[in-house]
């Protein structure tokens, strides 16, 4: 049940990061969203056993977090919490696929490479998604959805839900804490309360939600007013999107970091020679 407070902290952490002032934060909200989407497509397009080729892509979260002044450690912690789910799926591969493949001077089981690739892809994609929401925050996300032509019904639904989640988490925490204390510290809900406990919360939430909605309407609330300020797409946004996209494509199709590495080794060899 403590998980509820962790959820709340996670929301607040991202909102805090989104309130930081940086050049990246000042970009049009659709720009980080588009860049992240391209990044996810490129990273996941690598074959199942790709590991080395993915390493240069670590640069994206590293550099973007630096440019956005977002501390990496909390994002890293949030990412690592999710990775065990991928470990459960990936760990079967070393058992099922023992085909030896050349690795450096020796060989390695292909299953281990697939496992490492799943973990690395998982780490990169989750980190990038967390970084994107840290830059946008909820208001930015709403702005991005709106500018990308998502129908108002959907983003209004997401906005309403997000607002009520914040209210509901605290209330749910109190209800569960009360149940825990009254039931002699039972960690889970007994079948006798399967209907009444969540059902009671549901009815109360519904009534409370409607009261809030009515109160907001009486005070002149208009659901079409955006949460965040509407920004215009600028040349800077185009440059931001195009330069990151160019980097990803260059790395995927022209292996430019490998060329830089080869050039560097060649120079070192010449220097020593």
């Amino acid at each position: 049940m403590v998980v509820l407070t962790k959820q709340e902290l996670q929301f607040r952490q991202f909102e805090t990061f989104a309130s930081i002032s940086s050049r990246v934060h000042r970009r049009h909200p659709a720009a980080p969203l588009l860049v992240t989407l391209v990044y996810l497509i490129i990273v996941t397009s690598y074959p199942p056993a790709a590991v080395i080729n993915l390493i240069p892509f670590i640069l994206f979260p590293l550099l973007l977090s630096r440019f956005a002044h977002i501390p990496l450690l909390p994002l890293l912690r949030s990412t690592l919490k999710v990775l065990p789910l991928l470990i459960i799926i990936g760990i079967l591969h070393p058992v099922l696929d023992t085909t030896p493949v050349p690795w450096g001077t020796g060989t390695i089981s292909r299953g281990w490479l697939v496992f490492a690739s799943i973990l690395l892809k998982g780490f990169l994609t989750i980190m990038a998604s967390f970084l994107m929401i840290s830059i946008l925050g909820f208001a930015g996300l709403e702005g991005a959805l709106k500018s990308l032509g998502i129908p108002p019904l959907f983003y209004m639904l997401v906005t309403t839900m997000y607002r009520y989640i914040m209210l509901l988490l605290e209330e749910l925490y109190r209800v569960l804490r009360a149940y825990e204390l009254r039931s002699g510290h039972k960690p889970n809900i007994d079948p006798t309360a399967w209907g009444s406990l969540p059902g009671g919360i549901l009815i109360r939430t519904y009534e409370q939600g409607l009261r809030i909605q009515h109160a907001m309407e009486l005070r002149g609330y208009n659901p079409h007013i955006p949460l965040g300020s509407t920004k215009a797409w600028t040349v800077g946004d185009t440059l931001f999107t195009v330069s990151w996209t160019a980097f990803f494509i260059a790395e995927k199709y022209f292996h430019f970091s490998a060329h830089i590495g080869t050039l560097f080794l060649h120079l070192v060899e010449q220097f020593h020679g």
């Binding site: 799943i118 959907f154 549901l202």
Partner: protein, 348 residues
């Protein structure tokens, strides 16, 4: 059951995004919104409830473990399938972005697996025909939760398989996913049924709202006809036959092939005409699923039952196409109302 980005390919992600966006657009078209945006407020509140309720652990008697609700079916019951689908999509978006519970690229897969089957298959074709008229039926809810989740779990296996990111064998993956989700589905069904029973007793108006949200104001939706119920049973039977029973299809020649073999010594006609050869090669080149299975580089040993994703997909795709052709033919051949009316009037 939330899929991560690391497990899917961009191609599968794009296809499922397209399917999800198309379904979402259809739902938006179907929903009636009043000037106060009431359905959105209600959906937002209930979506927030489902989001939070997913964190409640319900103890499962005799096992020492716990389960939680998925929410898709509960939302379909409370909001109707269209708004239920959109609300589930909104929950999954927040989960993906803030908790990495499912990815951004795999968002389409997750919406489809967790919302589509419950809202557009389990709810209309399992729950509605089974539920007693006018009241929520416990058995119907459990059956809907189980079938919706089984379809979602099978969809996860197919999406993973088509993505080629993991190399888990299809059979092992299916045997891993389906039984565990059967147990999860039963628990989810029981919890959903308990919540619905409580709401029905305490605040029945909350359940009665769902039908009015996606119907024309003042117009009551017509009761399901016998034909609709028969169609629902046939759809389930077809998907089961195409998806599962096709594995048990005999590898031996069918009656016609057996007869030809008896006459000519071969199951297929030899030395066909150039026209036949041309169309045969064209068919082989174009068929995405030749011989009802995926194209394979090497020939594998034949097994029976042949548990194969290609066979299942071929069966389901074939069944859906046949349905579409029959349906469209039926529509084309259906006489216009005026014609029938005028005929009967003339007779009278």
């Amino acid at each position: 059951m939330h899929m991560a980005d690391a497990l899917i390919s961009p191609q599968v992600g794009a296809v499922m995004w397209t399917a999800t966006v198309a379904t979402g657009a259809y739902c938006i078209k179907k929903i009636q919104i009043d000037e106060h945006q009431q359905p959105i407020a209600l959906a937002g509140i209930l979506g927030a409830f489902v989001f939070a309720a997913q964190m409640i652990n319900f103890s499962i008697p005799g096992t020492g473990s716990s389960g939680h609700i998925g929410g898709g079916l509960l939302l379909a019951l409370l909001l109707g399938p269209h708004l239920g689908f959109l609300t589930m999509a909104a929950i999954l978006l927040i989960q993906a972005l803030f908790f990495a519970d499912g990815g951004l690229l795999s968002y389409g897969c997750n919406v489809f697996n967790l919302a589509f089957y419950t809202c557009f298959f389990a709810y209309p074709y399992i729950y509605k025909p089974l539920a007693a008229k006018g009241r929520a039926n416990k058995g119907a809810i459990i059956a809907s939760a189980v079938i919706g989740l089984q379809m979602g779990a099978f969809s996860v296996v197919l999406e993973t398989l088509f993505s080629g990111k993991t190399e888990l064998p299809f059979t092992a993956f299916v045997l891993l996913m389906q039984p565990i989700h059967l147990a999860i589905g039963i628990v989810e069904g029981l919890i959903t049924a308990a919540i619905v029973a409580y709401v029905e007793k305490t605040a029945p108006e909350l359940l009665n709202r769902s039908d009015s949200l996606h119907a024309e104001p003042g117009v009551q939706s017509p009761p399901r006809t016998v034909l609709q119920n028969i169609a629902a049973v046939f759809i389930v039977a077809t998907l089961l036959t195409g998806g599962v029973l096709s594995w048990f299809a005999s590898a031996h020649p069918d009656g016609l092939e057996w007869s030809i073999e008896g006459v000519t010594g071969s199951a297929e006609l030899e030395d066909p005409s150039p026209v036949h050869r041309f169309f045969s090669s064209l068919q082989n080149a174009l068929a995405p699923l030749p011989d009802y299975t995926f194209k394979q580089a090497g020939e594998a040993e034949e097994h029976w039952p042949a548990v194969d994703a290609g066979t299942s997909l071929s069966g389901i795709v074939g069944a859906v196409i046949t349905f579409m052709v029959v349906f469209l033919t039926g529509l084309a051949l259906k006489p216009k109302k005026g014609v029938i009316g005028s005929t009967s009037d003339t007779k009278a």
